[in-house]
């Protein structure tokens, strides 16, 4: 039985694992945005943003297997430590790009917004965030690419996703299916990476309004 044939036969399992993988990554990313975005908004004008970025940087430096391992003690095995680990990894790109995007907004534009009587909140929502959005989307894109691969390790802590196919491949080493299962897992993740990249490229174009694309 060849790889194509085998994959056709095991399609439901493959699609199931792919869906699990997608959901896992979106949960991690979603949580990172839910926590990271407000954190960035609260600190981007303040000196404390340095501390926030440093802590997020430490998370990113901790190797994935170690971080998953550290989270098992408080959270047990399964989905919970997997989602949290991915969230912690996504923090740095999400927070850093939000901070950088907001700080890159021309101070003259912000000053004139305040000078015309837009409140702090109005300035943030109507001027700063729309202008920072393309940079923020780039952060999401980077974060997603990164955690798509890391999410494969979730299988090692009994988490969901395509990592399980890879792990099954490893445990069935020596049988012809070992290579097929591993390939399915790897290719599945690469395909997801490409699809997410296309999605974020489109989102990036959507959030860059016409006025910002024009070159002076």
């Amino acid at each position: 039985m060849g790889f194509i044939e085998y994959t056709a036969d095991s399609m439901p399992a493959l699609l199931g694992a792919t869906l699990e993988h997608t959901v896992l990554v979106l949960q991690g990313l979603g949580l990172a945005v839910l926590i990271g975005l407000p954190l960035a908004l609260l600190t981007y004008r303040h000196r404390s943003r340095g501390a926030v970025l440093a802590v997020a940087g430490v998370f990113l430096t901790i190797p994935s297997y170690a971080l998953f391992g550290l989270l098992i003690t408080p959270l047990g095995l399964g989905t919970a430590p997997s989602v949290i680990a991915l969230t912690l990894y996504a923090f740095l790109p999400v927070i850093r790009n939000t901070v950088v995007g907001l700080r890159e907004v021309d101070p003259a534009v912000v000053e004139s917004a305040r000078g015309m009587g837009l409140s702090r909140t109005q300035t943030l929502l109507q001027v700063e965030l729309p202008l920072a959005l393309p940079v923020i989307v780039t952060g999401l894109r980077v974060a997603t690419q990164m955690i798509l691969g890391i999410a494969a390790i979730a299988a090692a802590v009994n988490g969901p996703g395509l990592g399980n196919l890879i792990l099954q491949g490893l445990t069935s080493a020596g049988t012809p299916f070992a290579v097929y299962l591993t390939l399915q897992g790897v290719i599945g993740i690469v395909v997801l990476a490409i699809l997410f990249d296309l999605f974020f490229a489109a989102l990036g174009r959507l959030t860059t309004t016409r006025g910002m694309m024009i070159r002076a």
Binding site: V110, S112, M116, G117
Partner: protein, 371 residues
């Protein structure tokens, strides 16, 4: 005695960690409907003072009165919606069209769509941009001068009685700056706002201002007076140094062409008519009241187009510039609509430069005349 639109009372701004305040107990009255220029070297506190007025910078102590009401403690956002604000870098929102930019404050004030649209077109026309063409453009599709026009239009959008302008023409090339200054004066004749204008350029101050406040340091005003007085009677050495040499040439920029002796005896000929004899080298060809061509007397062919005519709002300094540019010793003078009024020549301008200081300061072409 004019009403005072803005009154600054003992206004002080000090920053923690700095021994001397940025603005030190400044008291200044700004009359309604006038352009008051804050001018001074960098770091003198002129911009800080301006930002204290709309409380982009909160004063440490002192009071700000706007139209008689104390606004030192009022809601700063509400306050700013009633004060136009234009800055050197324009601060136009790059993600919004020209129309959306201008509509910012009207929308904050919840004007109806139709009213906003009409106001945008009215303002674009006022600042010399065709609404149909420019309404939908983005700031980056405009030249620096056009962006600045939109910036001024945006500042005027909700018809605020007060306009603050922070070096609005500072980053513009000299020729365009000249045009924008003239247009600001033209617009001001229509709208008669109380304008606080910050610049570091004394020439601009002299040209634009009804009054000039010369800042020395820490927001101290060395002299607060009309441009004529500042130029002819500097209050102290600092002011004298700051206005610098060449004050008599500067006086040229105080006199408007409208107030100068314009010669009306230049030989003219209507387009299509036979040139008649004259003692001048060139005849001026008029077409429907406009001067269009310099025609050589001798053979009546190969005329030169009339370039760089000056209008009533231009100063004698502009007229001198036009002559130098044209490599000619005479310039055509028109009225506001462009209709031929006469000519101005080099000797007339030289007379003014060399005239005796005390007697020759010409009556200033006050913008107030129209009032």
């Amino acid at each position: 005695m004019p009403d005072h639109m803005i009154q600054l009372v003992e206004l002080t701004k000090s920053y923690p960690g700095q021994s001397e305040p940025a603005v030190d107990a400044l008291t200044l009255d700004i009359p309604e409907g006038e352009i008051v220029v804050f001018v001074g070297p960098s770091g003198c506190g002129k911009t800080t003072t301006m930002k204290l007025i709309n409380r982009l910078i909160e004063p440490t102590s002192g009071r700000i009165l706007l139209n008689g009401a104390d606004v030192t403690g009022s809601d700063p956002d509400e306050l700013r919606r009633g004060i136009g604000y234009a800055i050197q870098q324009t601060g136009l929102f790059p993600h919004r069209t020209v129309a959306e930019n201008i509509a910012t404050v009207p929308k904050l004030l919840k004007w109806g769509t139709e009213r906003v649209r009409a106001r945008v077109d009215e303002l674009l026309t006022m600042v010399g941009l065709d609404p149909a063409e420019y309404r939908g453009r983005y700031p980056k599709q405009l030249s620096g001068g056009q962006q600045q026009r939109v910036g001024v239009a945006r500042a005027l959008a909700a018809d605020p009685p007060v306009l603050l302008m922070d070096e609005p023409f500072g980053a513009i090339d000299p020729l365009t700056r000249e045009t924008l200054q003239n247009e600001l004066l033209r617009i001001q004749r229509e709208i008669r706002k109380t304008i606080v204008f910050v610049t570091h350029d004394i020439d601009e101050a002299v040209k634009i201002g009804d009054r000039i406040a010369i800042f020395s340091e820490h927001g101290r005003v060395a002299q607060y007076d009309t441009p004529e007085k500042v130029l002819s009677e500097p209050a102290d050495e600092f002011v004298a140094d700051f206005i610098g040499a060449g004050a008599s040439v500067k006086r040229l920029s105080l006199t408007r062409v409208a107030d100068a002796a314009v010669a009306t005896d230049w030989p003219t000929v209507q387009r299509g008519e036979q040139p008649r004899e004259s003692d001048r080298e060139f005849l001026l060809v008029l077409d429907e009241g406009r001067a269009v061509e310099w025609l050589p007397r001798r053979d009546g062919r190969g005329g030169l187009p009339v370039l760089n005519a000056v209008g009533p709002d231009h100063t004698l300094y502009d007229a001198l510039n036009a002559m130098l540019t044209n490599n000619s010793d005479v310039v055509v003078v028109t009225d506001a609509e462009g209709t031929y009024r006469g000519t101005l020549d080099m000797p007339a301008i030289q007379d003014l430069i060399h005239a005796d200081d005390t007697t020759s300061v010409p009556r200033r072409a006050t913008k107030g005349e129209v009032r």
